[in-house]
Structures are given as C-alpha cells and as structure tokens.
C-alpha cells in the first residue's frame, strides 16, 4: 500500500491481513449486529417500489461516469501536451483552463452552465428553433459538459506530468530511427505517457464517480436523484441515505477491483 503525498489518496483497499484474527471476528460480530439492527428496526418497506428506478438510476450514474471520463480523457491529452510542447499561446490557454476549472467548485460550474448558459440560450430564437434545441433543453448535456470539463482539467495536469516524465532518450531514439514527429508521438510518447499515468487515471476515475451525484441538483435523475425522491416521498431521514452510501461503496469497490485487474494485465516492466 503506497501513498503518494502530492495528491489526495484515492480509495485504497486495506492491506490483506488475515480476516480471522480474534479482534476482527469480534468487530465483525459487532458490525453484524449493527447491520441486523439497521435491517430489522428501520423501515425498508419502500425498497421494492423503487427497485426498478434505483437500477436505472445506477445505470444513469455509471453511464455519466464512463462517458465523461472517456471524453474528458480525450480532452486531457491535448491539454497536457499543449502545456509540455505546445506553442506559447496554447500553453497559456491550457494552463488558464486548468487553473480556472480546478480553482472553482464543480457545483458552481454546473449551475453556471445549466442556469447561466441555459438562460442565455433561451434568449435566442435561432437556438430555440434549431435542431439542437431538443437536446439543449434537457439537463443531461449540461451535466455531461461540466463533468467532462472537470475531468479534463484534472487529468490534463496528470497528462502534463506524464508527458514530461517520458525519458528524453526514448524520444531521441525514435527520432534516430527516422520516425516522423507524428509517429514518435503516436508510437512512443503517447503510449508511454498513458502507461505512466494509468494508476492515477484509474484512481481519478473512481474520484469522478464521487462527483456524479452533483448532476442530480440540475434535475438529472441518477441514483442520488432516485434516493432524493424516496426521501421526499417517505420523509425518512436515514434509511435512503444509508442505502445510497452502501450503493456507492459497492460501486467504488467494484471499480477499484476491476481497475486493479486491468492494471495487473498490463506489463509494468521498466516503469
């Protein structure tokens, strides 16, 4: 279990000591009783009514997560590259972009896009009559945009570090093989940079999951939105929130597990 000090550590699974040490058995027993109490003494009768909605909510959350992470990463590559090797203007622009996005809360960006930009769009009949309007009047494009830009800014910094960290010798070697600049980038620089950044990228994707519930504040019905609905319908305080925490815990656990499997399949020799 290694900790990098510069970034806040993402979820790291506990070290694999034996689960059957005596004190752990006692702890597990206590937690078992706790879980039993929660199941037995709290109200869960609403659960069947909302199960279909919950599943579709989880789907929406995961779809948002993967779509924004993927597109965000595609944006992060040029942003990182511009900061390492771009002309001065591009470099300056991408630094500005990263500073602004990283320096302001995501919730504020989200509301700025949805309410601010949305109200400006609505003022122009040209936009309201265009073929894009059926999409622009919905909420998810704004959530998608905000989450994508956020991911792009954070990963842009990561990619900057990764590009800068590829040893010069490797690029010079590619050069001396007669590769064009584009070939060097495509065959050596980019793959090596992604390879270096992969653990951070995976960790940040898990962090991105934790940002997705914010889109519920602009009427996108993700799993958090469904749970809000349950809270409003039943006036229960704790039960829906506990379930929500459990759902996110499971999603995080699954993501961490899958990413670890994937990372293990990629050879890390020489990194």
């Amino acid at each position: 279990m290694s900790e990098t000090v510069t970034t806040p550590p993402a979820y790291v699974a506990p070290a694999g000591r034996s689960l059957f040490e005596p004190h752990r058995l006692v702890l597990m027993a206590i937690f078992g009783v706790l879980v039993f109490c929660i199941i037995w003494f709290m109200r869960w009768d609403w659960l069947p009514r909302y199960s279909a909605k919950l599943v579709s909510g989880i789907g929406e959350s995961l779809l948002m997560l993967f779509a924004t992470s993927f597109v965000g990463f595609l944006l992060a590559v040029p942003i990182g590259l511009a900061q390492v090797a771009g002309p001065r203007l591009l470099k300056w622009l991408s630094v500005l972009f990263c500073t602004v996005i990283r320096g302001t809360p995501l919730l504020l960006q989200l509301w700025l896009l949805y309410y601010g930009l949305g109200s400006i769009f609505a003022q122009y009949p040209e936009i309201r009559q265009s073929f894009l309007w059926p999409y622009l009047r919905q909420a998810w494009p704004y959530g998608f945009l905000a989450l994508t830009l956020s991911f792009a800014a954070y990963e842009g910094e990561v990619m900057r570090g990764a590009f800068a960290g590829v040893p010069r010798g490797e690029l010079e070697a590619a050069d001396s093989f007669g590769m064009s600049r584009f070939q060097t980038f495509w065959r050596i620089w980019l793959p090596r940079a992604i390879h270096r950044a992969l653990p951070t990228l995976n960790g940040d994707t898990v962090l991105q999951l934790k940002s997705t519930p914010l889109i519920a504040t602009i009427t996108v019905v993700d799993v958090y939105g469904v749970i809000s609905r349950v809270r409003q319908d039943t006036y229960l305080t704790y039960e829906p929130l506990l379930l929500l925490a459990l759902i996110y815990l499971c999603l995080t656990g699954i993501l961490v597990y899958v990413f670890r499997k994937l990372e293990n399949r990629i050879p890390t020799r020489g990194v």
Partner: protein, 260 residues
C-alpha cells in the same frame, strides 16, 4: 504514544465543546426553504429574508411570546430537519396533507390559495389531463403540486419534471426547457408579473382534489408537541381577530389570502 492519543482526543472534544458552546438552547428555530419564493419568503440584497410569511412568522411569535429565529434550510430536507430537531417549526408555505400528517403535525391553516398551471403565451392549452397531453410539466419536489401532477397528469403528460426549488422550475419555463409549471397561484402570480414571467400566462385552475391538495397551509411541528400546537393555534386565531393578519396582508395582496 498513549498519552499523545489522549491529548488528541481531549483536544478534539474541547474543540467540539467550544464549537457547540456558541449554540443557544432556548430559541425556537423556524425553518423555511432557503430559496426565493416571492411574495412569501425571499432574500433581499441586504441579506435579510422578507415577504408575507416572514411578517406572519414575526406576528405569530410575538403573539405567542416565543423567541423565534429564522433558519433557512433546504426544502427537500425540511421534514427530516424538523424531525431530527435541526428546526422546531416549519413556516414555509407547507400544505397540510394526509401524507405529511403521518410524519409530522400541523397547526391550523394560516392561508389557502388555489393551484394553477401556467405556460407560454404562444401555446394554447388548459389545465386538464387532455390539455397537458405530451407536455413537460415542472413542479417543485415534495410539494402537493408534485403529488397532484403525478396523480392527475402523470398518465398523459410527457414528463413530470421535479425541481428542488420553485424558482428553478420558473426559470426553466422561461428558458423553454419545460412547457408548463403547476404551483400555488400567488407564487406564480409573482413570477408572471416579473420581467421573465412575461413569456407566460395562467392556463387555468386545476380541478380540486382535497386528498392531495390538502386543507391549506399550516405551521409544521413535530408530533406530540401539543403545547406548542395549542399556542400556535391560539396565536393564529388572535392575529386574525385583532387585525394584525389583515394589516400586513394588505401590503402584499388585494384579497383575503386566508381563504374560506
């Protein structure tokens, strides 16, 4: 290191004690939604909350001799906030409904107004299930309007879209993201009179459904607090009788908001 741990624990508890020491115990916290809901509660540029309901709350607390402090909270968590004692009363345009009475208690009603549907001027439809066919209707969550729209328009409307605040629903109607908004007539009237509300007009009053639309707006309190409830009911009666209610209502409305 045991000692260090004790010190850390001690420091922690002292911090908490100092932090909580500033909290006062006797005041009654009056909760309402932390959002502009004119003409009932809205923040002004000086950071104060103003509106009809703020004046009503002041009059009630003065009449009942309660030490009240207004506490804006998130609307979607306002009932949990009451039951978990974050606040002690809700004076926030909350209608008395059967569903809510399962969880909390209410004073007698202090106002009652009809429910209307509004929509853009350039679209012609009325506030019936047929009229709203295929429309996207905006409502505020955890309101009687959400329950009503879901029950009566849910089968014909394209979508019932839920908003955390009434203001957001109004904003999205003005921005053309939704086709209609169902809400309290007075709150919508304030919106229609605003610059943004020029886009829209009242499409009609919805058909009454007392089971959902409730018995008017009351002060929400925790169950079992009968003493407080009696005090509040007496205070509502008193300010109705001595003219205080009419005096501050006149500043906002040209009709009797109390209803029949």
């Amino acid at each position: 290191m045991k000692k260090a741990l004790t010190i850390a624990a001690l420091a922690l508890t002292t911090t908490l004690a100092v932090l909580t020491g500033t909290a006062q115990a006797e005041q009654l916290k009056v909760g309402f939604a932390a959002e502009p809901y004119p003409p009932f509660t809205s923040p002004d540029a000086a950071g104060n909350w103003v509106g009809w309901e703020v004046e009503f709350q002041k009059a009630i607390c003065a009449e009942a001799k309660l030490d009240c402090v207004i506490t804006p909270v998130a609307w979607d968590g306002i009932i949990p906030a009451l039951t978990s004692k974050k606040i002690d009363m809700i004076i926030g345009s909350m209608s008395i409904t059967e569903e809510r009475l399962k969880t909390i208690d209410f004073s007698d009603k202090y106002y009652n107004t009809p429910t209307v549907v509004i929509g853009p001027k350039d679209q012609k439809f009325d506030a019936t299930p047929e009229g709203l066919k295929g429309k996207v209707i905006g409502v505020q969550v955890s309101t009687i309007h959400q329950a009503y729209a879901t029950a009566h328009f849910g089968s014909t409307a394209a979508e019932i879209k839920e908003y955390q605040t009434q203001d957001e629903a109004d904003q999205d109607l003005a921005a053309g993201r939704i086709d209609a908004v169902q809400a309290d007539s007075i709150a919508l009237d304030a919106f229609l009179k605003s610059e943004q509300g020029a886009c829209c007009e009242v499409k009609g009053v919805v058909e009454d459904d007392p089971a959902i639309l409730g018995l008017g707006v009351g002060i929400g309190i925790r169950k079992g607090e009968t003493e407080l409830k009696d005090k509040l009911n007496a205070a509502i009666k008193a300010i109705r009788a001595n003219g205080t209610y009419d005096a501050f209502s006149k500043k906002y409305f040209d009709f009797d908001i109390y209803g029949k």
